[in-house]
Symmetry: D4
Subunit: 248 residues, 8 copies
Amino acid sequence: MENEELSKLLHCVADGIISADDALLRIRQKPFEDLGYAKPDLHRGIRQGTAEVIYGEGKTPEQISGIASSLVKNGQELVLITRLSEEKANALDAKLHLDYFPDGHIGIVGKMPSEKVGKIVIATGGTSDIPVAEEAALTAEALGNRVIRLYDVGVAGIHRLLAHTDDIMSARVIIAIAGMEGALASVIGGLADCPVIAVPTSVGYGASFGGIAALLSMLNSCASGISVVNIDNGFGAAYQASMINKLR
Amino acid sequence: MENEELSKLLHCVADGIISADDALLRIRQKPFEDLGYAKPDLHRGIRQGTAEVIYGEGKTPEQISGIASSLVKNGQELVLITRLSEEKANALDAKLHLDYFPDGHIGIVGKMPSEKVGKIVIATGGTSDIPVAEEAALTAEALGNRVIRLYDVGVAGIHRLLAHTDDIMSARVIIAIAGMEGALASVIGGLADCPVIAVPTSVGYGASFGGIAALLSMLNSCASGISVVNIDNGFGAAYQASMINKLR
Amino acid sequence: MENEELSKLLHCVADGIISADDALLRIRQKPFEDLGYAKPDLHRGIRQGTAEVIYGEGKTPEQISGIASSLVKNGQELVLITRLSEEKANALDAKLHLDYFPDGHIGIVGKMPSEKVGKIVIATGGTSDIPVAEEAALTAEALGNRVIRLYDVGVAGIHRLLAHTDDIMSARVIIAIAGMEGALASVIGGLADCPVIAVPTSVGYGASFGGIAALLSMLNSCASGISVVNIDNGFGAAYQASMINKLR
Amino acid sequence: MENEELSKLLHCVADGIISADDALLRIRQKPFEDLGYAKPDLHRGIRQGTAEVIYGEGKTPEQISGIASSLVKNGQELVLITRLSEEKANALDAKLHLDYFPDGHIGIVGKMPSEKVGKIVIATGGTSDIPVAEEAALTAEALGNRVIRLYDVGVAGIHRLLAHTDDIMSARVIIAIAGMEGALASVIGGLADCPVIAVPTSVGYGASFGGIAALLSMLNSCASGISVVNIDNGFGAAYQASMINKLR
Amino acid sequence: MENEELSKLLHCVADGIISADDALLRIRQKPFEDLGYAKPDLHRGIRQGTAEVIYGEGKTPEQISGIASSLVKNGQELVLITRLSEEKANALDAKLHLDYFPDGHIGIVGKMPSEKVGKIVIATGGTSDIPVAEEAALTAEALGNRVIRLYDVGVAGIHRLLAHTDDIMSARVIIAIAGMEGALASVIGGLADCPVIAVPTSVGYGASFGGIAALLSMLNSCASGISVVNIDNGFGAAYQASMINKLR
Amino acid sequence: MENEELSKLLHCVADGIISADDALLRIRQKPFEDLGYAKPDLHRGIRQGTAEVIYGEGKTPEQISGIASSLVKNGQELVLITRLSEEKANALDAKLHLDYFPDGHIGIVGKMPSEKVGKIVIATGGTSDIPVAEEAALTAEALGNRVIRLYDVGVAGIHRLLAHTDDIMSARVIIAIAGMEGALASVIGGLADCPVIAVPTSVGYGASFGGIAALLSMLNSCASGISVVNIDNGFGAAYQASMINKLR
Amino acid sequence: MENEELSKLLHCVADGIISADDALLRIRQKPFEDLGYAKPDLHRGIRQGTAEVIYGEGKTPEQISGIASSLVKNGQELVLITRLSEEKANALDAKLHLDYFPDGHIGIVGKMPSEKVGKIVIATGGTSDIPVAEEAALTAEALGNRVIRLYDVGVAGIHRLLAHTDDIMSARVIIAIAGMEGALASVIGGLADCPVIAVPTSVGYGASFGGIAALLSMLNSCASGISVVNIDNGFGAAYQASMINKLR
Amino acid sequence: MENEELSKLLHCVADGIISADDALLRIRQKPFEDLGYAKPDLHRGIRQGTAEVIYGEGKTPEQISGIASSLVKNGQELVLITRLSEEKANALDAKLHLDYFPDGHIGIVGKMPSEKVGKIVIATGGTSDIPVAEEAALTAEALGNRVIRLYDVGVAGIHRLLAHTDDIMSARVIIAIAGMEGALASVIGGLADCPVIAVPTSVGYGASFGGIAALLSMLNSCASGISVVNIDNGFGAAYQASMINKLR
């Protein structure tokens, strides 16, 4: 594995993705740093093309600050922190200069890429799905993708969705986000000719069972070309959508 | 309760629904006959406007024949038998002169009403949902309703459904039947201005869990005006649709 | 679809449901307004006979105020807001002149229709089911229906239900609301000759699983003529009941 | 434990339940015989007042014959075998002189008690529940109880149940057996003043989930005085009902 | 039904259970009082031998006070209120002179019966099950039964249970209360020769699923003579146990 | 929609995907043919870039033959039939000249594309997952993709997977197929830098619950870049993988 | 990893576990053979101390024969095949000289070890659990362990278990196998001072849900020192028990 | 049982595990003390080699203090209290001189053993699993075992785990702790040659269902030699691991 990693790293240098000096630095490092409570992955950028992301839930502000600092110290330019509550965001080490986006519970250390490529459409069934959608949209933007937001286009008033057929037909990948019965994914899947990643949300009550109804609905879609991520997993959908959007 | 039943019965005579002689006969009878293994309800036609129906599953051919004979003997003109397998249909007492409809697993003793009223639209998501749809359609027709069949109009190709907007907009009540993710009910619910009764079917595999995915989807529909019956319960949907269709 | 909507609109003018001036206004508008976080449906009254309703849960007071204002501005006379907590109700834009009904968590902008038609009976198994029942009752009244309330008539003391046989036999549609084992729906379904819409509630503990026991009970009812809506969905039951009650 | 068992045994002799000779024999035996594949409990009659019962499912005919022979050899007068298919019944050792009851899948070695005491009412919701009811009825009779059968008295036609109020009010214990939504138990529980043991059955389809709907319904009954046994467990209900019926 | 109720009432007078004056009063009343939010059952004492009980959860202090006052006013001597939180107990109408038992969340209006009969053994698997056990014990005592408490005798140290074999063998009925895996019921069921009512509790974590593990365990017990009530339903177990204990 | 479809069609002509004559023919046709039992979608090739696929399960041989003939008659060159049992394959209309692939239960009318592009890696955890993998592999090949098969590389012997790191690192998209605990998807997701589509299979027993364990495992993967399709849905994974693989 | 494997191999030679010649042979081989449909692990004996085992379910006789032959050819002395039906056993390649054990559905190529060490007690709740117990017992014996069988010692007659206290107290590890409510594991766990591995079985009906009740019961055991394997997984329990039994 | 206990006790004296004086004291005591709300097991140290442990959840500080005092008074040197919140720890009887470990919610009365034996490796998938891991680690250390902590070595970056192959290969027993999809257990199970005890944690969201996904994943592991304990049950895993680690 050593050789392969090295070869990938050198290709990154050749392609100008990282500098020769940074490459040198990384070759000298272990592929992860051991903080005791965490072992941040310093080579993921090389191995998978996207740098390590911090999942904020279940970690203390001290742990998040420690991991983020380790990543920054090791040369990662943008550190994305997901599922970060406003309280925790305020409690992070001030030296990180965090930008906090409350709608999507996202924190960013470093700055958003200015150039964005391709086209990812993010559609929601209703207004209540927006927090998940913003987690997805901000993640996709942080990873350098151009994002179109189509919110509240659920199938109860299908003309609202049909009014945006142009966006749907010109997307490279679509993220369809819906709670309750999650039918949005099937309808978009039937219209679009690009991959659709469906995100069930925990929006609903009673027999929606915290998103299970939407999840099952999406897994059983009669439309082809749809795959599904975990309930409320806006980040995961955006991460894969970014991989797809950037394929050449 | 005696008085009320009697009053209803007399109104039925006044309205010509049953003859004075039949009324006399019924007044003299007990409200059910005790066959030991079953107690067929002889007054349901009076009490609820629709005569006793026999659910065929889990009964032997001898039991079905016995109940049907009791109902005929007590003056019921059309006996509907649901969930009747072809084998059992063949094993029933020949004196019943049963008409058997294999597509919907329905048997009828007596003859279908010639006059049919109103308009019930029955739509299915796919071809595999047709057995449930036929159970519903034949039940509705046996109860005297006019039925329009729209089969294989699932949301994966939504133009197939939109091509029948006229039928949907002119229905008095719609039965939406679908397996897999059951999104058909929500889309129809968003278009129609009449009550929609949704029937989840056990069509599907894997995480459809024998119809649970469609059932949950329909219960959580973001469209208003939808109610739901049990998985594969074409009969139940048609029975209620008939009640609604006949309201004046 | 354009033509059909137009035709419906003109019929509404002809029937005096909306004025010619309002009709003119609507023809000039897009069928929905895009607020970014929501796309309120301005033509639903034309398309489905009932104006847009706002589901308050999961929306901020600002979003609810924005949507309600948009609907009012576009000529909708009564705006119904469901699942509205007392806190949110107090935080809404004062210009809306909201009437708040705490028992059913319902807010109304505009005024209740003075004339009410038909007869919808709303029955509950117990005292604890009243919040769901009031959501249904207020919705039905806001939509112009006459409502009879029968509360705490559960089957543990069946004489309490039998004492109201008159109401049950004279209803055009019944909403049966119960938690725990939900048997009320079956017993009413066996007595009534009109459609019964069953609403399971999350009342109960242990193996009631937040309403699942009642939901399954109602879906499997041995009585015919019953359909079911989501757990605690008083609004949905009333919406469909109103559609049925108004059929001519 | 030795002393207590001995004391119970001597009381049985004193009460004439077993003879002095039999008692002597038993005192000399081990409390169970080890057949390798089974260890039949030879003292249960002494310890619990009811002799060992053989659950036939999952055992080979050879194993059943072996256990039954061991019990007979050790002085047990009536051996009850439940869940015994007709095929297995035919394959049992002929020396056992088995009486087979196909309706309840029960086999009996020895002869039914001629004297029967008390009054156990066994009611079913429908005709399809009869096999479970017969398992209960035959078990109760084999254990020496008087049984009243009320079959097909489900709540969809509640007058059929109310017509038997006398039996319900005079029972010492009632077994209420129903599939589908299982509401029968609640209605009987609301009427009766004796203990009610509810038996959910696997009768039903779709969202009845093989008896879960009825099981949950019965566990959540709003009526007091009801307890529940496993799905289709007619034997278990009858065994406990017999214990209760014989209390003095 | 009229006649039967009357006959029961007169027998109650004959047996001295209620006075002739009280009987007169009751004959003149309707069998329930309609408070709007509740319809307390005034004849249950006659019909089922035990007076109406108030389930406190989900009712407001005003509603509880209202129902209790109605029962007292109509001659019920002891009013049992279950699932009554300490806050609500303090908020009840002071005129009721409530006795509150915090361990079992039970409130009593009137006074505990001084004479107690029979023998109900109440056993728990652990210390954490005591609140459910006290709900059962206080209910049973309020209904006039003698109660033996055996707490913390779970199967992890089976000698603690075996040390109380005497109590188990001399009980008329046993209530076995346990969370986690609920094995206590099976072990007691294997030892006892009287009916065992099993109460699963929500004590546990992880895969105990709020009592489901214990519930399933008890429903599937390999021991005979066991029936089960809802999770944490100490009241229900005690109510049925009282019925059984008082059988003569 | 008319215009857009037309525009897409003309682009297809311009790109040589379909001939001018075929285009002419299609413009003259309705977008679907109504066979009564089915409404095959004749424009999906234009709308979504991939022609209509027939799901064989739950359809009769006559229905499958009818739909396939309709598609062929309307100019579709390759008709893919999935979930086709060997018996049904033999019963299809001989004029279709079907090629049947028993390992993946796939039938093909027309011939496999000779040119294949890109690189889709299909990996399975075990030997028993091969039927699902072959459904995916044949679908992907029928849609014109190059496929690499890596079978039996489950995590119990992780060196078998690591030995194929080259294939994993050079794939454009990977389909990870596994039953039991489905950990394969997470491990591949941690190694690869391309999108991974996970397919849970129903392989396993006991607590695998027909694939639910693997499904949940894949939905909750700690690795990023993974999305999931329904249990055993090799077709769906391949369909989306093909969309991704062909992105330029 | 190369070095470590080599070092382990050389230690095996030093300890006489494998011969120098065999070691040489293995060093020259790849760590697995690629049969296309399977990649048998040839180094597992070195890596994990126990040679590769073949899980027979879901594999064809040809595949099983191929894998077994590959293992034998590469020097594995005893090949264990689990979940092997009698039909498949008969269809295997005759050259394998398979010994088949129908009680546990186990096939063995090579011969059982003559020397057996330590003491593993295998206990079952009932007679119907024996097939799972034999899978465990034969696996443990094939891996060189001494096994004591205690069958049908379920808690319904706890004296049967207490009669074997000696075996339980002297075991190095115990496998407790039970279906229904699975209480056996807790009771043994409370008595024993060695590790207990619990195996839930699918024996039972109704709310046993194919072993889920027993599984949950065992996971929630109030006794310490118990861990659990999958439903019916006798092999897995025996494999781990063997690891534990052989620790020095 | 008396004799056996005595014999074990005398062996403990012979092996120097307890002093002759302590032995004398214990022989004179009852095997448990009855505190009313609890019956602490005073002989467990003799019977099972490990003294009684107090599960803190669901007990009041008074109850915990009472049980701990009883154990100390009866000669138990180290009392372990698990699931002890910081609030309760502060509220315990000060005379107990409790040491509190907040990371694992563990309290200890007495002092940690200074000598530790063997090697138990405790690995977690992520940082959020540390509380469960510390419950396990502290328990294992309190029982006298040497513990190696490997935290945050989840499979999303498998090189972090492979970097600790030495620890894994030299462990006597491994505890693998993971939430989300729980794949860590399978990967470790495939690498290690010692028993692996898997602990699913409730870490995760959406379809992780509070640890069910990880639990199912671990139960269905394709690797051999793995058994599983309840969700978040670090204590239970450590208790069994200690039993295994100390086997000679």
